[in-house]
């Protein structure tokens, strides 16, 4: 079984790195770690980078997960190949661009581009935000799925993800104590549906709501509160249509052995217990 430890980074293609940088610093509030000729590295926590924009097609979207060591990586590659997934062994140069020791790339059953990485770089200097959004770190992603039941099996049986809760047939899955690291989202094609950063307090969620509104950043859902994880949230749209989320107060699953996923109906109150309605963002199942 592939033991995912945590989500490590997201890599996004973008035709316009300048707009991406403006948004990431002036609106989202990330710190620029490094500007390559064709890459923009952004920090959100103690890690050297958690988001990277590369000059290219916005449909090129990759999520990286950390695994224990190189032996685990080889094992994972063997498992995936056995199941018929084409596995790309990262070159030294590619690993350097990802600021990791080693990695492999493959596609999940929906076709999402996933990388497993070993020893992603941390940075000795603390994270210093470009604006006071209160970000404490990159935390999870919403991942498109053309068949949530099939993909749930992949993430929970081939990998070590566990289902924390379900809304309709949409699983919220964890790879560690945090309520979810991967939220599957029913969609017609592969892609990252949203990128979550945690913030310090619910004050930060509300402050960003007014802040982003004033800057005419489209708020697509929230401010709200998920009854599943308990998190207060705000979703908004960034460059190339990517949706970003701030949230705070995600529950931890305290007892791994006895936790049973709860079933929520597929209805608006299962996504927000405050009464906010998605605007310009489709709910995962529709």
């Amino acid at each position: 079984m592939i033991q995912l430890k945590d989500v490590s980074y997201v890599r996004l293609g973008s035709p316009d790195l300048e707009s991406a940088e403006n948004f990431a610093t002036a609106c989202l509030g990330l710190q620029i770690a490094e500007r390559g000729r064709k890459d923009l590295y952004l920090r959100s926590d103690a890690r050297a980078h958690t988001l990277c924009y590369s000059e290219g097609d916005p449909d090129d979207q990759t999520v990286g997960f950390e695994v224990e060591d190189e032996a685990s990586l080889q094992e994972a590659a063997a498992t995936l190949e056995q199941l018929g997934h084409a596995v790309h062994a990262g070159t030294a140069q590619e690993a350097e661009r990802r600021k990791v020791r080693a990695f492999i790339g493959f596609r999940d059953p929906t076709g999402n581009h996933v990388e497993l990485v070993v020893r992603p770089e941390h940075n000795g200097r603390r994270y210093f935000a470009s604006r006071d959004a209160g970000i404490t770190g990159f935390s999870h992603i919403g991942l498109n799925s053309t068949d949530p039941a099939r993909d749930e099996r992949f993430w929970t049986q081939v990998c070590n993800a566990r289902v924390s809760d379900r809304i309709g047939d949409i699983p919220l899955m964890r790879v560690n104590a945090i309520h979810h690291t991967i939220a599957l989202v029913r969609a017609p094609k592969a892609g990252i549906q949203h990128i979550n950063h945690q913030v310090e307090t619910s004050d930060d969620v509300l402050r960003s709501y007014y802040f982003l509104n004033e800057r005419r950043v489209p708020i697509v859902f929230g401010p709200g509160r998920h009854p599943t994880s308990g998190a207060r949230f705000l979703y908004f749209r960034g460059p190339d249509g990517m949706i970003f989320e701030y949230s705070v107060g995600v529950d931890e699953i305290e007892d791994e052995a006895t936790h049973r996923p709860r079933q929520f109906g597929f209805e608006p109150t299962s996504f927000c217990m405050w009464g906010s309605k998605p605007a310009g963002m489709t709910l995962p199942n529709s």
Binding site: S202, D203, L206, R207, Y209, Y210, F211, E214, P223, G224, R225, R232, M273, W274, G275, S276
Partner: protein, 293 residues
């Protein structure tokens, strides 16, 4: 805060009596929309509960006996003391008749006005209710919390409240947050060009209810005059909503507690960031606005 007495002079803001043009219309807002429990309809006033007190809001026709804010006084001796102090400062203080006390559901009372002309009932032993509070909808209201008052003479009005034992916790410009118990404030005085109640605030359980009520008001097409927001000075979250005749009712939660240690009132500038930490602004209520925006 006790002015050298063993007990406090005043202990709470215990009710607001509002004079409105159409009590039955306003009553629908107060119960169906805002979420208070309608408990009585007598002597031309409609009464509402928000906690274990018999009533904390009354609606009456705009008439002689008009609007007032009830301030609970410790006991009859304290009432006498408060009356003496106010008279000494030149404020008119009048005794209440038995029928006036009955109308207010209190055992004894003195009627007075601050320098702006806000009518205040100083009352002893307001009536409690034996049955628990049961609201018409799940707005999460826990208790009547306090009031914002408009003031046209804030120096004299401060002298008035000092005489009752209130102290300024913080200033935003000349807005004064007045403390009468262990919380940052129960009364806030807002400089204005007229007198009257600015808002009546009701505490809800948590941020959840502030936000749920915010979406409920949007769906009910009720005007939100400010919020959801958070006062930086008191750390209190708020949502101010407007009912018929421009009355403002507020949901609040999270106000800072203040221990007994001596503490200086802090001065904040009259700026948008002093009135809301989150960034909400009031477009139409001058008292809740900072100039220049």
């Amino acid at each position: 805060m006790n002015n050298g007495r063993a007990t406090l002079l005043i202990t709470s803001v215990c009710y607001v009596r509002l004079a409105v043009s159409e009590p039955s219309v306003s009553a629908r807002f107060v119960s169906d929309i805002f979420g208070l429990q309608r408990v009585a309809d007598q002597d031309g006033e409609i009464d509402f509960r928000s906690d274990d007190r018999f009533r904390t809001v009354s609606l009456g026709q705009s008439s002689a006996d008009g609007a007032s804010v009830g301030i609970e006084v410790w006991d009859d001796a304290a009432l006498e003391e408060v009356g003496r102090r106010l008279r000494e400062l030149g404020f008119a203080v009048n005794g209440a008749t038995a029928s006036e006390c009955r109308r207010r559901y209190v055992q004894s009372a003195l009627f007075t006005e601050d320098a702006s002309g806000n009518r205040l009932d100083l009352v002893v032993r307001p009536t409690r209710s034996g049955r628990r509070y049961f609201p018409p909808r799940d707005a999460g209201i826990v208790a009547f919390h306090g009031v914002g008052l408009r003031t046209t003479d804030h120096t004299r009005d401060l002298a008035f409240w000092h005489a009752l034992g209130a102290e300024v916790s913080d200033w935003v410009g000349d807005i004064a947050y007045l403390r009468i118990d262990g919380l940052h404030h129960r009364i806030a005085l807002y400089p204005s060009n007229r007198n009257g109640l600015l808002y009546a605030a009701f505490e809800v359980e948590a941020l959840d209810q502030i936000m749920q009520n915010s979406y409920f008001m949007q769906e009910s097409q009720i005007r939100i005059v400010q919020g959801p927001g958070r006062e930086p000075a008191s750390r209190q979250m708020f949502l101010h909503v407007e009912g018929p005749d421009g009355i403002i009712f507020s949901y609040v939660n999270g106000m800072a507690e203040i221990d007994g240690k001596p503490r200086l009132a802090r001065q904040f500038p009259l700026a948008a960031t002093s009135l809301c930490d989150w960034g909400s602004e009031s477009k139409d209520i001058p008292e809740l606005r900072a100039p220049g925006r």
